[in-house]
Each structure stands twice: as structure tokens, then as C-alpha cells.
Amino acid sequence: MSGAEFVPLSLTPILIGVFAAIACALPGNFLVLRRQALIGDAISHVVLPGIVVAFLITGTVTAWPMMIGAAAAALLAVLLIEAIRRLGGIEPGAAMGVVFTTMFAGGVLLLERSDTSTVHLDVEHALMGNLESLIWLDAFGWGSLLDPVALAGLPPELFRMGLSMIGVVAFVWLFWRPLKISTFDEGFAQVMGMRTNLIGMSLVAVSALAAVAAFDAVGSIIVIAMFICPPAAARLMTNRLGAQVGWSVVFAALSAVLGYVLAGYGPLWLGARDSVSAAGMIATVSGIILGLAALFGPARGGARG
């Protein structure tokens, strides 16, 4: 394939997909180990009411109000889950189930009741994203990467997602030791004088940030899949946290690239005319990777073997 076709049509979606996948997979490592893997699932459900409310307030579908609304909804959901868990004495899984289904139902109802016919805002868009549409129309080939005029036309999602990924990487790098110790031995971390509650809360906050940013660019299926599948597969490969995080980044990037390519070009190779959903295909590829890791991963059975 020539650069003239690849750079404008496929380069930016692939990059955005890779950034989103890595930004979600990094905190996912700790969530999987802490048995909080479904937080990504809950967050990606509650962003729907967030963006709908943001739309109702501002009347537009621009990125920043949407992301603020989504972040506010994620925060509200975390608070509600905690409140219901404590006030009602309900196990966390059920409390989470109550909150995210209710908020999602509220979002759908608001969406149905309000006039969104003039804007591109619907449930399917929220679920599936539109990775395929994040193209770089100003590019003409590899040379455009050095052309400032063309670079100005890059989709803004690329910068937002790239920044989010850098933020997540910085968080994990800076707080590596406290994160690691409090994840494996909370009691020991407390004895060491670490504020484990604060570490846990900031992990959830960073996950929410990654989820909201990725949701804006690629939809919630990728978010849920990338929070869990690459870290889970990586966990079956090794017993060392550092290696696990490394594997998860590789798996996440591999899922994004392979998924996008298979969705865009796979059907053409099979003789069909149209491409299929890239978001769905990326999730599918990450599942296949997890399945292979579960079958052949060297550390699949636990620390013993």
C-alpha cells in the first residue's frame, strides 16, 4: 500500500487506537490485580449520561464540555457506588451494578427525550466510537509528516489521546513503588506510611481520565476491552509486575494495529466490499490474544506453574 493512501486514511486512526489502548491498559494492570477490573466497565457505561447532560447544558457536541460532563459522571458514579456500599452494606459488585445500570438508563432516557436530531449523538456512537472517521485529510503521503501546513490539520483527538497517554504513563512511572506495594500488600504499605486510600482513589481517577479521553475518541467497547484483556493476558505470561506491564503494552498496541487493519482490509481480502467496525475488531483481537495466553501463557496457572 502506498503512503499516499495509508498516511491520510489509516495512520491517524491507528495511532489514536494505539494511544487509547495503552492509556487504558496501563492502569488496567493494577485494576486487574486489585480485583477492580470492572471499574472500567462501570465508567464506560456512566459516561453516556455525562455527555448527554453536557450536551443539554451547552447545546453543542464539542469535545471539552463532553469530556467534563463524562468526567463528572464518572466521579458521581464512584461516589454513589461508595455511598450505597457503605450506607446499605451491599457488596461492591452489586452496588456497582445498581449504579451503572441506573445511570446508563437515565442517559438513554434523557437522550430519547431531548432533541438530538441536529447533532451526531446517539447510543451506538457512544458504544462503538468512530475510529474510522478520524482521518487526516491534509496529508498526501509520508512527506506530510514534515509539512507544518498539513500537520495543522491533524485530528484534535490525536493530541488529546496522546496527552492522556503521556499523563497515564507519567502517573504509573512516578507512583510505581507505592502502586506496586499497595496493590500486593496493603497492610505492609500502610505500615510503610503510605496512604493506601489515596493511592487507590488516584488510581481510579487516572483510570477514569483514560476512559473518558479514550471514550471520546474511540467509544466504550475499546475502553472496557483494553482495561482488562491486555493486562489479563499479560498476567498469564509472567510473575513479575514490570514484565506484566511491558507485555500489556505490547498486547494493547498489537490489538489496536491488528484490529484496525483486519477491520479495514480484512473484508476486502475476503472479497467483500465494505469494512467492519474497527472498535469491535480491536476488542475481538484482544480477546483472541487473551485466549491464546490462557492456553499457552507460561504463568497461566498461578505462581506455582
Binding site: 477490573a37 466497565d41 452489586a94 456497582m96 445498581v98 445500570t101 441506573t102 432516557l109 447510543v123 467492519v276
Partner: protein, 401 residues
């Protein structure tokens, strides 16, 4: 309009849907109870998301065989197949690998759903897939439903409910005490499998009414709500079923009464309303009851401490204590004890002294453990024991003037 909907006067289809939603809600509430008691509520989330590829595959197969891809029975049959695969995948991942159940659930739900979305985009490009309307199964939609579909839902709801009621005894036993159930000769794995089978049935029947993203709410919210009102397993499941059925009925009726009120979300929000009311108002486990309990406890502590202070002739500085004593007629507004107050204070002091003696007696360890600084000692020991304690009391002394 709403009244007509609630009294089933909006036509044959709306009535069938309302009946179906009620039966479905009841079955979901009962089944969900056993998931909830076994702390596996979110497994249902994986099962429900795993229905999507089945729907897509069923559509493609039915079209390939020359039939109508939108046949609801066929779509539901397809969804049951992949839902079962999803459940098996969760179990396989948790048994075979060291991944925890929550990771397995999240992985299965996102991957199956993602693959389902891929199939949906394939269908959109098929000749016959233009108006497939499969996305109505994501969020449920009962508007403009075919009569045969409405009948299917009502019958499916009834069948699921009957199966649930038949299977409830072994499920109660396993949920309540797994070891006891195993000792009684029940096969735990089979009962668990039956529970999951029922969850699948609820999910599949609920696809058209509630939609696959929200069906999990019907399995979680009613049991959590019912748990507020009772501690007894045999009542939790019934209450949960009733709450689920009522949510289904009221939600379906509200949804039928006006346009742009999607059935699934309305049913979920109805259920959540019941949940929120229960969270605050339930008699024993509710927030309001807890607050009242706390206030009553506070008053008892203040009264007791106030009486002890009076008995020792010490001044009371805490305004709240003085107010409570005054309101009970035990002291004047300035904190000086009345006749009744002096009598109660003497009793409180005697109580405290008796407790002190009791707690020093090794024979009465169990009774002494009940000491909380407020409980009258007569409620803990027998009269004979009290007489024995009193032998250790010092002789009465002259009160200093």
C-alpha cells in the same frame, strides 16, 4: 393515559407486553436473588453482553437460508447459544487460569460484545440488512411490536417464571449454605449451572423488552432492594420477585403511555426508585432507621452519664445532657436533680456498682461481656445471681451533707 396503561386498556399488544414484562421481572428478581446471595451478580453482565454475536449470527444464518432475518424466535435462539458460550468462557478462564472472576467477566463481556458489533456492521452491508433493526435489542424496544413477538415474550416470561419456581428449593439451599446443601446430597455444580441457565433464559427473553445492556439491572436491583426489608432467605426471593414484577409492570405501563419513553430504561429507573426508597426507609437496615437508632443511642448515653454525675454530686456541663434530664423530669433546668432524678441516679449508681462486681467475677464472663455502660443489670442476670452480687456490696453509708 397512564391510568389506562396501568389498568391494561391500551390494546392487546401493550397488555401482552406489560404481562410479559411483569412475569419477566418476577423471574429475574427470583433468579437474581440467588446470584446476589452467592455474590456473583455481575456474571449476568457477561452473559447478557455475550448475546449480541448470537443475534448477529442468527440473522446472517436465517438470511443465508432464505428466511426472514428478523424472526424474533430465531434471534433469541441464536443469542442463547453465544450467551452459553460466554458463560462457559467465564468459567473456563476462572478455573483454568489464575485470573479472578471479575477480570474474566470483563474480558468476556467486552470481547463478545465487540465481536457482536463487528457482525452488526457486516449485517449493515448485507442486502437484506438495511433495516434489520437489530440495534433495538441493545436497548429494548416494544413500540410497534409484532403480535407474535408480544406473545413470545409473554410466553417466555411465564416459562422462565415456572422454571424458577420449580428450581427455587435447591437454589435456596445452595445460596444459604453450600456445605449443608452438599451434605444433603445436592450437586452444587448442577445447581449453579441451573441458576446460570435461568439467568440466560431471563436475559434472552428480556432482550426485546429491556435490551441486553440493561437486563442485568433486573437481575441485580430487585434482590438488593429486597435484602433491605428482610434477613430471611425464603422471604428475600419472594420479595425480590414481587419488586421485579412490579417494576416490570409499572415500567412497561409508563413506557406505553407516551412516546419517547423507552421500555428498558423506564423499567430500570422504576426499579431504582424502589431501591432508593428502601435504602432510606427500610425499617432495620435503612439509612433513616440507622440515623434514628444513632440518635436514640446518643440520648441513652447522655442520660446515663447525666444520672451518674447527679449520683456523684458532680456538676453537668454538657447542655444537651441537662436538657434531656430536664425533659425527662429528672432535673431542674439548671441541672439540679429533682426527687425522681435522685431516685434514678441512685439506681444508676447501684447498677454501675453491681456491674463492676459482676465483671470481676470469672464465673460470669459471658454476662459481663454484655456490659455497655447502659444496660440495666436485671436484664442480664437472674434474681438469685443478683442477690449473690449484692452480698459483695458494701454496707450503706451516710450520705455526706
Amino acid at each position: 393515559m397512564l391510568w389506562q396503561a396501568l389498568t391494561l386498556q391500551l390494546g392487546y399488544n401493550a397488555t401482552l407486553v406489560a404481562i410479559g414484562a411483569t412475569l419477566l421481572g418476577f423471574a429475574a428478581g427470583v433468579t437474581g436473588t440467588f446470584l446476589f446471595l452467592r455474590r456473583r451478580s455481575l456474571v449476568s453482565d457477561a452473559i447478557s453482553h455475550a448475546t449480541l454475536p448470537g443475534v448477529g449470527l442468527a440473522f446472517i444464518v436465517m438470511v443465508a437460508l432464505g428466511g426472514d432475518g428478523r424472526n424474533l424466535a430465531g434471534l433469541l435462539a441464536g443469542s442463547a447459544v453465544t450467551a452459553a458460550l460466554g458463560l462457559l468462557a467465564v468459567q473456563w478462564l476462572t478455573r483454568r487460569t489464575r485470573l479472578a472472576e471479575d477480570s474474566a467477566i470483563g474480558a468476556v463481556l467486552s470481547v463478545f460484545f465487540g465481536f457482536g458489533v463487528v457482525l452488526l456492521t457486516v449485517i449493515q452491508t448485507m442486502e437484506s440488512g438495511r433495516q434489520a433493526g437489530l440495534d433495538s435489542l441493545l436497548l429494548g424496544s416494544t413500540a410497534g411490536m409484532l403480535r407474535s413477538d408480544a406473545l413470545l415474550i409473554a410466553a417466555g416470561g411465564a416459562l422462565t417464571l415456572i422454571l424458577t419456581l420449580i428450581l427455587r428449593r435447591p437454589m435456596i439451599m445452595v445460596a444459604f449454605d453450600e456445605d449443608y446443601a452438599a451434605a444433603r446430597g445436592l450437586n452444587i455444580r448442577q445447581v449453579d449451572l441451573a441458576t446460570m441457565g435461568l439467568v440466560m433464559a431471563v436475559t434472552v427473553v428480556g432482550l426485546k423488552v429491556v435490551g441486553l445492556i440493561l437486563i442485568v439491572a433486573l437481575l441485580i436491583i430487585p434482590p438488593v432492594t429486597a435484602r433491605f426489608w428482610t434477613d430471611r432467605t425464603e422471604r428475600v426471593w419472594l420479595l425480590s420477585g414481587l419488586i421485579g414484577g412490579a417494576s416490570g409492570f409499572v415500567g412497561a405501563a409508563i413506557s406505553a403511555s407516551a412516546p419517547a419513553l423507552p421500555t428498558g430504561p423506564i423499567i430500570v429507573l422504576t426499579g431504582f426508585t424502589v431501591f432508593a426508597l428502601s435504602l432510606f426507609l427500610a425499617p432495620n437496615r435503612g439509612v433513616l432507621a440507622a440515623v434514628l437508632r444513632h440518635i436514640a443511642f446518643q440520648r441513652r448515653v447522655h442520660l446515663r452519664q447525666g444520672l451518674l454525675a447527679l449520683a456523684h454530686g458532680q456538676p453537668i456541663y454538657e447542655r444537651y445532657t441537662v436538657r434531656l434530664l430536664h425533659r425527662a423530669g429528672l432535673s431542674r433546668p439548671d441541672g439540679v436533680a429533682t426527687e425522681a432524678g435522685r431516685a434514678r441516679a441512685a439506681k444508676a449508681l447501684l447498677d454501675e456498682k453491681r456491674w463492676e462486681i459482676l465483671r470481676a467475677m470469672p464465673d460470669h464472663e459471658a454476662a459481663a461481656a454484655l456490659y455497655d455502660g447502659m444496660r440495666p443489670i436485671e436484664t442480664v442476670v437472674t434474681r438469685d445471681q443478683l442477690a449473690e452480687i449484692d452480698t459483695h456490696l458494701a454496707a450503706p453509708q451516710e450520705v455526706p451533707a
